[in-house]
């Protein structure tokens, strides 16, 4: 069985695109091969900064020939039908066969598709793959009309079997497939020919290219940790950075350096961010002090001086960067120690949104709202005010100007420098949180109040000026803000009417519309946690649905009930009762809400249900008052047996009008008792 080797060599592919590109190449080529009737045993895809590589093993040498018969029009059909058939089959009339069919004759087309050699199929498939490759961004170069992520330099395409290696005959816009490639840009020694994947991989290694990104990652990580270990240090793990760096080198050479003493006073996050963002350095920590004191950079070459020049250069760039950072930090400290007044003043000049005023105006709103929310979360209004005043001051700091991702965190450092309370400092750090469905939610009362006020001001503000998210457009990340509000309320068990909280936000927002948006986000959030949407709907239909903590408690209890057999059977019984009742109400034009009377109960089952309903009501009423949904639902589940027995024994629509009315009133009682817990009618079976 032949083996297929493809290499697409180009100028440097962006690191972030490499893994997906290798995967796409695999998918597109193997799909194409299979669609053309070839089979294969296994496939591997690889990427380096300059190449995408595919190795297919156990490929069939040719596709099987296919014979297809297609039935056409009858011999006496209109000429147009025959013409259509000829067009669709691509045959001429004398190529068709006439066969007897019932009492007439029918045209048949017999189409023979001969098997194709693997080489021909591969050429077609690869040509299509290259021309239509799904790069996130592609380009033209020189005079070509071909697009690739960066100029495509050469194509290696080999079919290897016992007889040897065959170059697949393929020419894409003047790039002719061959059996050669080149190694490392600086350490390789020109082009070389290969005869198989094994040979290719071995020769690449000799030409200083590690083909497999996972291998490069492992090599980098091992090299980095060894270097750090030898110096009594440890590398700060960063998987994203590792993957990125592995996409920047074909032959990784980790080198470790020290951060100059002068810079060690900078907050570790500043060191780490600067090194990662600007230079793709790993941070190296002193395990004794916990401080970041060194770095590992990964070069792409082995040099005659064992990396000394490279390390020196990198160190120099780092020093320049960190000098900037220290300069910013020191300037910031001066402002911070003076109480951050300059920044707060400066925020008056920063527009938050041209219809929603400046950042300073926004802060004033957050302060006011935060004070209102303070009692709900158990915080002191004055503390919340103090925290909200300074939480965004760091937006004017020079460090945050340079590294926006450090907003909040720097606020914490500066609040401390300003001699503020630790709760205020933490609120500055945490008030942007949570930023997604899984990250940590603030739990300190002051932080919770400021975080809530921050997000509610955003939501009500943008609602008031009609800048709501639509479709996949959410430029102000309002969905994220809504999820933040939801998670803050739920995690901290913040009770109260969300509508009234929202109405204290930016004036002019349509609160009920915003509540619907929040409910929608809650549904998405709960669905993500495996809760059925109809269960959420059944609870949303209940009063008090703008108390999200209560709502979710109810949802969880109902989800629990519906997971039991009693629950699903009860639902059947409830729906049956509800349907009969609804039909009767529609027919008779009255509501059967007068209460059933035990004395008109004829059978034992009727009496039993009557009593069961009363018993359930005794339990459900107080339980609901205590918001003990589990108990209430448990009591409701007890109705399952009597309801089932009732429907088995009793015909509701009796000829006796009194009995019928009494029974309908009893069904109404079921509706009321169950309806007090959740709107079961909204549940799907």
């Amino acid at each position: 069985m032949p083996e297929l080797l493809i290499e697409l060599l180009s100028e440097e592919i962006p690191a972030r695109m490499q893994a997906k590109a290798a995967f796409d190449l695999k998918r597109i080529v193997t799909d194409g091969l299979v669609e053309a009737g070839l089979t294969y045993a296994s496939v591997g895809a690889f990427s380096t900064p300059r190449r995408l590589v595919l190795s297919v093993e156990g490929l069939s040498a040719e596709s099987k020939s296919v014979r297809e018969e297609r039935k056409g029009p009858r011999v006496d059909a209109p000429i147009a039908a025959l013409e259509g058939f000829l067009r669709s089959t691509g045959l001429s009339k004398d190529q068709l066969e006439l066969r007897d069919d019932k009492k007439t004759q029918v045209y048949f087309a017999v189409i023979e598709k001969p098997g194709r050699a693997a080489a021909a199929v591969v050429a077609d498939v690869l040509d299509g793959a290259v021309r239509n490759f799904p790069w996130p961004k592609s380009m033209r170069w020189g005079t070509t009309s071909l697009r690739w992520v960066r100029p495509l330099k050469s194509i290696l395409c080999l079919l290897v079997d016992e007889g040897g290696a065959l170059v697949v005959d393929l020419d894409i816009d003047g790039i002719k497939a061959g059996n050669t490639t080149e190694g490392h840009r600086f350490m390789g020694a020109g082009r070389f020919a290969v005869t198989s994947f094994e040979d290719y991989r071995a020769k690449l290694w000799k030409a200083r290219v590690m083909l497999d990104a996972a291998e490069r990652e492992a090599h980098i990580w091992q090299g980095a940790t060894n270097l750090a270990f030898a110096a009594g240090m440890e590398v700060v793990e960063d998987k994203d950075l590792l993957a990125e760096v592995a996409g920047l080198v074909e032959w990784p050479v980790p080198l470790m350096g020290r951060i100059g003493e002068d810079f060690l006073s900078l907050p570790p996050e500043v060191l780490q961010t600067s090194m990662k963002e600007h230079q793709k350095f790993f941070s190296v920590r002193n395990p004794k002090t916990g401080r970041v004191e060194g770095f590992v950079t990964v070069a792409n070459v082995e040099t005659t001086d064992h990396g000394a020049t490279i390390l020196k250069g990198n160190q120099k760039v780092l020093s320049a960067r960190l000098s900037d950072a220290r300069f910013f930090w020191e300037n910031d400290l001066r402002v911070a120690k003076a109480g951050m007044g300059d920044w707060l003043l400066g925020l008056e000049a920063v527009t938050f949104h041209n219809k929603l005023g400046s950042q300073a105006e926004r802060i004033a709103r957050i302060v006011a709202l935060g004070r209102e929310l303070a009692p709900l979360v158990g915080a002191l209004p004055d503390k919340v005010e103090a925290a909200a005043q300074v939480a965004k001051a760091d937006l004017r700091s020079e460090i945050v100007g340079e590294f926006p991702e450090l907003q909040g965190l720097m606020g914490m450092y500066y609040a401390r420098e300003a001699g503020m309370d630790e709760t205020v400092a933490k609120a500055a750090r945490d008030h942007y949180s949570p930023l997604g469905p899984t990250d940590d939610v603030p739990v300190e009362a002051v932080s919770v109040a400021v975080a809530l006020a921050d997000k509610i001001d955003m939501l009500t503000g943008f609602w008031a000026i009609d800048e709501k998210p639509t479709g996949n457009k959410d430029p102000f990340a309002l969905r994220r803000a809504a999820l933040g509000v939801i998670r803050l309320l739920l995690v901290n068990g913040v009770r109260g009417s969300l509508s009234s909280i929202l109405s204290k936000g930016y004036a002019g927002a349509n609160v009920s519309e915003l509540l619907i948006f929040l409910h929608d986000r809650l549904k998405v959030f709960l669905k993500y946690q495996g809760i059925r949407h109809d269960i959420i709907d059944a609870c949303l239909a209940m009063p008090g649905n703008d108390d999200l903590v209560l709502l979710v408690k109810r949802v969880q209890a109902l989800q629990g009930l519906m997971a039991t057999e009693d629950g699903t059977n009860l639902l059947q019984g409830f729906k049956r009762a509800n349907n009969i009742l609804t039909q009767a109400e529609a027919k008779d034009g009255i509501e059967y809400s007068f209460g059933a009377d035990l004395k008109f109960a004829e059978s034992e089952e009727e009496k039993a249900l009557f009593k069961a309903l009363e018993a359930a009501e005794q339990v459900i009423g107080p339980a609901m008052k205590l918001e003990d949904f589990a108990t209430a639902m448990g009591a409701m589940a007890q109705l399952r047996a009597p309801i089932d027995a009732f429907f088995t024994a009793v015909q509701v629509n009796s000829d006796n009008a009194i009995l019928r009315r009494n029974r309908l009133n009893m069904l109404h009682h079921i509706r009321v008792v169950c309806g007090g817990v959740a709107d079961l009618a909204r549940l799907e079976n």
Partner: protein, 344 residues
Amino acid sequence: MFGWGVGIDPIGAVAYGRGGFQEGLSMSESVVPPRSFQEIILRLQSYWGVRGCAVLQPYDMEVGAGTFHPATTLRALGSKSWAAAYVQPSRRPTDGRYGENPNRLQHYYQYQVLIKPSPPNLQELYLGSLRAIGIDMELHDIRFVEDDWESPTLGAWGLGWEVWCDGMEVSQFTYFQQVGGHDCRPVSGELTYGLERLAMYVLGVDHVMEMPFNDPASPIALKYGDIFRQTEQEYSRWNFDQADTDMLLQHFKDAEAECERILAAEVTDKVGRRIIMAHPAYDQCIKASHLFNLLDARGVISVTERQAYIGRVRDLAKKCADAFVTTEAGGGEAIGAGVGGVPV
């Protein structure tokens, strides 16, 4: 020690032929390290000149980057082949630091190369230029790191990299895809070297003002600071505090109006020659762009206005591009200067 008149011969063997642009230097060929800022510039001029680029002079207007030179912006348009290299003094008023910051200047130099169509060995040619200025590939780590270039004021974008040498960005390498809203066909390859930064690295200097401008062994050795420290101070003050903003705003409007007026003018002149004034119009666009930068440095443009101003400059750039591609140099219908005209 050597005195006046002793230096390097900038012209080596001719390194181009029918086959296209040739790299010339071999991988391992070691090069004598340069000793001054100007020597690095001279070596780049020599390197690209020898390889067949027209070595142009800087454009005689204030621009924010070498890309603004019409030899890049306009010549990247249309079907005609092109190869040019030049130094371009560039001004970024907001980057002024009164000559105090070791790495920031409001006036600095870029080295710019534009070749159309981009030759297949442009990366190798570029690496050859680094060797020529003394960067030894046996010792240094050169990397091409993704960086997509976009100029909102020129309505231009391209894909390419920033080039790192030992972790420092030393150049920008771009394949132009669009300029002035026009697709580039063929595609130009553009190289931009930040000369001060590159030279500081090659010369091992930590503060730009300390960098030898001419050979430190010259009879009158001049450092970068001897030439530019005072001007950095003067321009920083003018840019940030003194420039008359009402006047600048008026000039912006004037440049904008003149650009549009020139482009709207009758194609046929008073004696019947067909002359489209793409370049004079583009000068006005450059002016508007620089005036915008000055206004920005004076802090009189708000965040929301910013986008509007950028959009206005871009509109001009697009109109200039539209006009240029109808001229002879732009590969248009040969309706440029002189064709079918009346001899003077």
